[in-house]
């Protein structure tokens, strides 16, 4: 009998020890994650700040050995390529998300959702190859547009799932209230549920843009890169992350510094995008 009491006392002590240790363990893990992020950020800032300047943002790349130069054409190229990709992926993705959220056609909804998950898990380099075979090889030259296409395919699953979630997040009662007023079902979906879901839909777009902004692999054989101010997406185009890649694998010290500065710029813009996305989401949570 006393053995059982001792055993109980011991297990109580063990339980107390465990519950005292658990929050510390969690805190350590959280600190590890935050620490890794800070370490990366700090390192990129330290290495990148040296080459970071106004001319870095506005000038064309200089040849090796010529000091200065920038990634101006890469920034413009990124904006055009990602912008075109968003233009392609946003309407298709949002409409597909609306379909998934509001269609009663269960089998098709499940199938589309499954395919969407499969698409999300395809490596980006494979999607780049797909764009290459579809839009580069037949035309005989690289192009910014083929990169946009690859990015659009990468963005699609993200946009579809976030817009579906945003539509589902809107109370079912809103839809019923609209239908009870005499709205047809598609009118209820598009004119009453979609506006309420809009902040979540836009958040999904911003996150998808942030996701592809850091992509490099599909660009290797689509946008290809350029030394010039190329504004026509039918031609090979410079792109920021592609420039970082090219500079980073080069043997030149000055190019390495530029690669770090480019990485810093990339991180800052992705960070700005996710802050923007959070602001939108907060607005939707309020309404």
């Amino acid at each position: 009998m006393s053995g059982a009491v001792v055993h109980r006392a011991r297990s109580a002590a063990l339980w107390r020890l465990r519950s005292a240790a658990a929050p510390w363990l969690c805190a350590c893990c959280a600190a590890g994650v935050a620490g890794a992020l800070l370490l990366i950020l700090g390192y990129v800032v330290r290495e990148g700040l040296g080459a970071f300047s106004l001319s870095f943002l506005t000038e064309l790349p200089h040849p090796v050995g010529v000091a200065g130069g920038g990634v101006g054409n890469g920034i413009v190229g990124s904006l055009i390529i990602v912008g075109l990709a968003a233009l392609m992926a946003f309407p298709v993705g949002t409409l597909a998300g609306i379909f998934l959220a509001s269609s009663g056609w269960e089998t098709l909804v499940d199938l589309v959702r499954y395919l969407c998950d499969v698409l999300a898990s395809i490596p980006s380099i494979a999607i780049g190859l797909f764009a290459y075979s579809l839009l580069v090889e037949p035309f005989g030259h690289f192009s910014g547009f083929s990169a946009s296409f690859a990015f659009a395919v990468l963005m699609l699953p993200l946009i579809i799932r976030t817009s579906e979630a945003a539509m589902r997040g809107v109370s079912h009662e809103i839809r019923e209230a609209a239908i009870a007023l005499g709205a047809r079902e598609h009118v209820a979906t598009l004119r009453f549920v979609l506006p309420a879901a809009w902040p979540g839909v836009v958040t999904g777009l911003l996150l998808a843009v942030a996701r592809v902004t850091g992509e490099t692999a599909p660009l290797l054989f689509t946008a290809f890169g350029s030394q010039f101010w190329e504004l026509n997406p039918a031609n090979p185009m410079a792109e920021l992350s592609l420039q970082i890649f090219t500079y980073a694998i080069s043997p030149y010290r000055s190019w390495h510094a530029q690669a770090w500065a480019g990485a810093l710029l990339l991180i800052l813009s992705v960070f700005a995008l996710s802050v923007l996305a959070r602001l939108f989401l907060r607005r939707s949570a309020r309404s």
């Binding site: 009662e173 009870a180 007023l181």
Partner: protein, 265 residues
């Protein structure tokens, strides 16, 4: 055969809405069994019964909202002015414009102002209202819903900025703006405080002058206070229907008596 079980309203009152042999299903589950009921014009009819007895399902069959849920279907007839709303070629949205509905939870459209909420049902087919017509509709609807004096200076504010009771009256204004003939209210006060509840009950008796009102409630005092007729449902069946006074003071069925005296439910 249908008419045999029908409970008819007495005297000179005309029937606005009636159901004949009405059964409702969710997939395999039968939620309503062969309901026959007449609802008198310009009266308040309360539908009472314990949770899950089919009160909401019954009124959702009246304006064809039942079928909006996947797998749900209806058998039998619902007659609006003698015409079956489930008849061939009858357009469900058109039925819903004649039979308005207010839900348990206030549902102002979250992205719309008070004003936009009131007129939301009017521009559904794409035609635009003139500024003056819109103002007229908004004021009339809000006055009918006894909300005008409280919100007339803040029509541009979001509908969701109002209190729960005000939101529910906004939903009533929105339903009335479409100029329906029948107004269904599905436990409209269950989320409201006693003062807001009293305002809405008061409002119902005023609205009964122009509209036919069906009030679903699980609150027996509310049914006793606010209605002219009462239908008592149990397990998806209509147990008893009659004048509210009679149902509460001298019910014909044992189950009705047990329920209204608070012995169960």
């Amino acid at each position: 055969m249908f008419a045999s079980g029908a409970v008819t309203v007495s005297g000179s009152m005309t029937v606005k809405l009636a159901c004949r042999g009405l059964s409702a299903y969710f997939g395999q589950l039968r939620a309503l069994h062969d309901i026959n009921l007449d609802i008198a014009t310009n009266s308040v009819t309360a539908v009472i019964g314990p949770s899950g007895c089919g009160k909401s399902t019954l009124v959702r069959c009246f304006n064809r909202m039942h079928e909006v849920v996947g797998g749900a279907r209806v058998e039998g007839q619902v007659l609006l002015d003698g015409e079956d709303v489930y008849g061939p070629g009858v357009d469900a949205p058109a039925v819903r414009r004649r039979i308005g509905m207010v839900f348990q939870r206030p549902t102002p459209f979250p992205t719309m102002t008070i004003e936009e909420n009131v007129v939301a049902g009017l521009s559904l087919d794409g035609n635009r209202l003139s500024r003056t017509a819109k103002e007229r509709v908004v004021e009339r609807g809000l006055r009918q819903a006894a909300l005008w004096d409280e919100v007339k200076d803040q029509l541009g504010k979001p509908g969701t900025s109002l209190s729960g009771g005000q939101q529910q009256r906004l939903c009533i204004a929105r339903a009335l703006a479409v100029e329906p003939e029948v107004l269904l209210l599905d436990e409209p006060c269950s989320q409201l405080d006693p003062i807001s509840t009293a305002r809405i009950e008061e409002l119902l008796s005023e609205l009964a002058a122009d509209y036919t009102i069906v009030l679903v409630t699980h609150n027996m005092q509310q049914a006793a206070r606010a209605s002219n007729f009462t239908a008592f449902l149990l397990g998806g069946k209509l147990v008893e229907f009659g004048e509210t006074n009679q149902i509460f003071t001298n019910p014909a069925c044992r189950e009705t008596e047990d329920y209204v005296t608070g012995r169960f439910g």
